[in-house]
């Protein structure tokens, strides 16, 4: 069974997913960061594959993408770094990457590699659902890779239901109509949106992403969903850290507890 499915079977509230960019702050930090995230008490690890033009991301994650690329990160290198990580990491691992680098790598080769190293799921923000269904779903299924779609406050109920029907990992709720890192507080308008989606009784668990930064926002988001995703705030936390592992664990414990 895919680790994502197992996780949500065992835990349906306050699920914490942490995003970081592979190759940031230093080229070889990938696996050490994953270990620290696991030790700090998070539930899902989301690894960003850096891209030159990350249109769905705000300034903090854009910067980390650029630094990672300047450091020499690439898809090939990332898969090399990930080889053997399952000896140390039992958490579900999701890769978040834009479509073009994946296409150049080759979608099938990519899925194969994901399976080989032990990646459980994908988030490809610029892969539209129709294209996924027509071109890639069979391949993802064949390799046992769970695909995740984003929804925003503007996504219609019809479309949310369609996404819920066609996927079986979790649904990534963008918490404001915003690119990552753009807002810091949960507004009344967002609460209305969270409640509206919660009332839809979707089959997939829901994680709220974009704008979650600390124990307070994590707890409020968790009231309306199965948990949340922290990205920009985590990147800021590790940006200038000397002792990455300790810093990550302290931060995560402050969020979880």
């Amino acid at each position: 069974m895919n680790r994502i499915h197992t996780l949500f079977k065992e835990k349906d509230s306050r699920v914490l997913s942490i995003y970081f960019t592979a190759g940031f702050p230093n080229l070889d930090d990938t696996v050490p960061i994953m270990e620290a995230i696991q030790a700090g008490g998070a539930d899902i690890i989301e690894i960003g594959v850096p891209y030159s033009d990350p249109v769905a991301d705000g300034p903090t994650i854009q910067d980390s993408n650029k630094i990672a690329l300047d450091n020499g990160m690439s898809m090939k290198l990332l898969f090399e770094q990930l080889r053997g990580f399952r000896a140390k990491i039992h958490l579900p691992v999701v890769l978040m990457g834009y479509l073009n680098p994946i296409m150049q790598f080759g979608m099938e080769a990519f899925c194969q590699k994901c399976k080989e190293v032990g990646v459980d799921g994908l988030i490809v923000p610029d892969l539209p659902m129709q294209q996924y269904l027509e071109d890639y779903k069979a391949m993802f299924d064949q390799y046992g890779i769970v695909n995740t779609f984003l929804i925003s406050p503007q996504t219609s109920e019809k479309r949310i239901r369609e996404i819920d029907e066609k996927t079986d990992g979790f649904i990534y709720m963008v918490s404001s109509h915003a690119v990552t890192g753009a807002k810091t507080d949960i507004s009344e308008e967002q609460v209305a949106y969270f409640e509206r989606v919660a009332a839809m009784n979707l089959k997939n668990p829901r994680l709220i992403g974009f704008g979650i930064s600390d124990a307070k926002t994590f707890t409020s988001a968790s009231r309306f969903s199965n948990g949340a995703i922290i990205g920009s705030a985590f990147i800021k936390t590790i940006k200038d850290s000397e002792n990455l592992s300790e810093r990550i664990q302290t931060y995560l414990q402050s969020v979880v507890n």
């Binding site: 033009d53 769905a56 898809m75 090939k76 150049q104 925003s152 996504t155 109509h177 690119v179």
Partner: protein
């Protein structure tokens, strides 16, 4: 048949590869643009403004001294005489009327050279709409007069400081701004790029160029079809406009001039079809310049309007099926052609358009051939580049 299919593809290229957050905006546009464009009300307003405000039809001018030099019958389609100095305004007029009909209150746009930014700021002033233009920090520095023009027209110019700080990054910023303001804002894309339906919609607004060429050439030559149409390609909107009504007339050769910068293999070039490969850029599948890892490569061209690492999906398709002939023109040759046209015909062209003119040296034709060169813009904005270049 060259044309867009119901899924938004031109052959293998096109589509709408966008984050879900943009889906409602793009869907709204897709669902509505055709019926709005088809309505009499829209057409009356669009045609009226093109005539009285933009100054259309633009002349199809027989360039006799240029013709003598190149030994062919060369006509210039004078888009340089459009209000604001380039073809870009054909599109912004169309899109702002559309935005109004969709009930939008704010306009955002990206710009490279500043021509599309000026054309957008202009129509926003005309319609009394709020306007924000995203422009790479580096382009802001090298296109100062256009930045000031936009400000005089009442627009806010926001520097794009991410990535390479040029047109590609300005486009990223505009997309992010649209994600953050999905309800009341319309994004006026400046070329035949972006997610479906933008490429086709922009091409339809620009298609007035070839619509006019047809009847103007009929008047002058007794025939609607030239032998060759030449246009420069940044994203490809002036070329799409000049080619549009000839896509499916195979006897008309379509020549697209890309920017080779310092030379195709110099590492400082924007010759997309020569150097690029299929991939995704700004929401569509197209040909783009990229590394083996799929990272977008920063292009170079002396003309900011051609300094873009991709081309619109329709041009990728024209290239793919061999319907278009693509040539790559170096900075130095474009500059020489710009100066040549100035001396021969008394017209200082935009450096973008000068790339199309140089293509006359790169293609084969015979002396009876009727050739239309789309003169997409005038050189006023490029005066500083001409001065720095010298050699005139």
């Amino acid at each position: 048949m060259i044309g867009v299919d119901e899924k938004g593809f031109y052959g293998k290229f096109g589509g709408a590869y966008i984050p879900e957050m943009l889906y409602p905006n793009v869907e709204e546009l897709k669902e509505n643009y055709e019926s709005i464009l088809a309505s009499k009300e829209f057409q009356d307003e669009f045609r009226g403004l093109l005539k009285d405000y933009v100054g259309r039809p633009t002349p199809l001018y027989f360039a006799s001294r240029l013709s003598e030099k190149y030994r062919a019958k060369i006509y210039l389609k004078r888009e340089d005489l459009c209000h604001t100095g380039a073809h870009k305004v054909n599109n912004t007029i169309g899109q702002i009327i559309l935005a109004k009909k969709l009930g939008k209150k704010r306009i955002i746009a990206e710009t490279g050279a500043g021509q599309h930014g000026v054309a957008t700021a202009t129509v926003c002033a005309l319609m009394g709409m709020e306007c924000t233009v995203y422009m790479g920090e580096i382009d802001i520095a090298r296109q100062r007069p256009n930045v000031e023009r936009m400000k005089i027209l009442g627009a806010t110019v926001v520097p794009a400081v991410s990535g390479s700080k040029t047109l590609k990054d300005a486009t990223n910023e505009a997309m992010r701004a649209w994600i953050n303001n999905p309800v009341d804002t319309h994004y006026i894309i400046g070329s035949v790029v972006g997610p479906h339906p933008y490429p086709e919609m922009v091409a339809r607004f620009q298609s007035v160029i070839s619509e006019e060429i047809k009847w103007q050439l009929k008047e002058k030559e007794g025939r609607e079809n030239p032998d060759i149409v030449i246009a420069c390609v940044g994203g490809g909107s002036n070329a799409a406009g000049a080619f549009y009504h000839y896509y499916n007339t195979p006897e008309v050769r379509l020549v697209a001039a890309e920017a080779a910068g310092l030379g195709v293999s110099s590492g400082k070039s924007a010759a997309t079809t020569a150097l690029g490969s299929p991939g995704i850029l700004h929401g569509s599948k197209t040909i783009l310049m990229q590394t083996e890892d799929g990272q977008v490569v920063e292009p170079h061209s002396i003309s900011a309007g051609l300094d873009y690492p991709g081309i619109g999906p329709v041009h990728a398709h024209l290239f793919d099926v061999g319907r278009g002939e693509f040539v790559a023109v170096e900075d130095k040759d474009a500059m020489a052609s710009g100066i040549e046209l100035s001396k021969l015909e008394g017209i200082i062209p935009a450096i973008e358009s000068a790339h199309a003119l140089y293509a006359l040296n790169m293609i084969e034709y015979s002396k009876d051939d009727v050739i239309v060169v789309n003169l997409s813009g005038r050189g006023d904005k490029d005066l500083e580049t001409y001065i720095k270049w010298g050699n005139y």
